[in-house]
């Protein structure tokens, strides 16, 4: 990591939709500095000609038929069973338009 990288905790909190108090932000900032310094050790390893690993056992393009699997179907009642807010058989979601 370059020495100029500065982590903006409040921006990251916004991006990841987490609530962070000023006190917590300070603690996280300190921790991130420590972690980023530690992981910068990876720069010592040459990887220019190395490809990235994305699936560790070598699988790719696993497809299935686009069919309804009845064994996994939930009833409307089951699907709603953990929702705190519902209205006439629907989930109530937070408003995104004013």
């Amino acid at each position: 990591m370059s020495k100029n990288d500065k982590v903006d905790v409040n921006h990251l909190a916004k991006l990841s939709q987490m609530t962070v108090t000023p006190q917590e932000a300070k603690k996280l900032q300190k921790g991130f500095k420590e972690i980023l310094k530690t992981i910068s050790a990876l720069d010592k390893l040459k990887t220019k000609k190395v490809s990235s690993t994305f699936q560790v056992t070598g699988l790719k393009n696993i497809f299935r038929q686009d069919e309804i699997d009845k064994s996994r179907m939930l009833t409307q009642e089951q699907a709603l069973s953990n929702a705190k807010k519902k209205y006439q058989g629907y989930f109530v979601v937070p408003a995104i338009f004013k």
């Binding site: 990841s16 991130f32 979601v93």
Partner: protein, 476 residues
Amino acid sequence: MKLNQLTITQALTGLKTKKFSAEELTQACLDQIEKTNQHLNSFLTLNPNAISQAQAADKFIAASKVNFNKYPLLGIPYALKDNFLTQGLRTTASAKLLDKYIPQYDSTVQARLKQAGAVLLGKTNLDAWAHGSSTEASDYGTSRNPWNLNYSPGGSSGGSAAAVASHQCLFAIGSETAGSIRVPACWCGVSALKPTYGRVSRYGVIAMGSSLDSPGPLTKNIYDSALVTKVIAGHDPFDATTSSSPVNIQPAKLKLKKSLKGIKIALPKEYLVKEMDDKTAKLINKAVKKLQSLGAKVEQISLLDPHYSIDVYVVVQRSEVSSNLARYDGVRYGHPRTYFKHEAKNRALLGTYTLSTGYYDQYYNKAQKVRTLIIKEFNQVFKKYHAVIGPVSPGPALKVGSSKDSPMFGEVVDMLAEPSSIAGLTGLSVPCGFVNHLPVALQITGPQFNEQQILSLGHIYQQNTDFQKFPSTEYD
């Protein structure tokens, strides 16, 4: 000997010969939980139907000539880490955000155990969202090490490890991203297997690091680990990362081999890390000598410093956590995001950073490239050797409170399990002695999908040593 102290193999013999019933066996475990859980905090939720499930198993055994091959765990009581979904039974991942979550379906692991006839006792504690290596990050309080209540059981599958070590159950299920099965097993002195990535389905397991998560058993000996893994392993259409290669685990065959003649084992000198204490190092050397005396050829090799694996693991895992935790919006289930605690924020925020524009190549992609280097290195090693050994953890259990104010506590504790997890390999934790009355363990790592090979090695080592012991649980 009390019934709850039996191994799976012993209990199955008793059930088959009708020496005792599944109900008596289950009741013995429930009695032990009742007596010790106030000290250990290993169980978060008990299954109210445990006794009726055991009675059903008894009826089944009595009514017909049951084919135990078809129901290989019939009547055997077990504990399940609380990040595995259980239909109708609260599942929290030890996070208050999911405090009231009642899953509508079973995880594949739970479904397969149910199908095999096993009896669910309840759900065990973990670090919230499996983020940690001590259970101290649980929103429901830390679990304790049954060997000494002032010490941590390790984590994140700490509740499962403590439950097995204290005979609250006959076996338990844990999950491992890097060290979360093997390290608690080591610290609590039980036997465990971390299967190859993709050998056991992740369907219905609350996700942590999706390219790493591997469910597996914690048991009272290596043979039992083989029995349980055989039940839960195999292709699952609900998890596209599971392998369709046949499951090669054959517990009965473990009994046939008595020596390690012809087995070549590698001991990476870098795994004897600076963080390791002298007494643990001596026990590892002693284990090496034992393996040699059993016929194995052990040679020292050189691998990438495991400290690099910490760095790769931190980046990959934090990145995947940030993606996995993004789904919790409190709409379909759970409380709002304000319920996330410090460790979840610590991981999600850093993962958001390492995946963000401008930093992706620098961190995430770099880590995935080093991951390739680690995989290639192991591939070379396994051309010449059957297994790689080393300590599971640099030392025995640490005191409760050790993780406080350490943003990378888990990564350091788990550093010796990280290289093999990053490479998707399978590994065992086998008890190999005691330091200050606390257990330590030998790690045996094998190539992908070759669980049988390391189970055989671990079983033979265990048959010729006497380190699989259990603590007194008279805490009052």
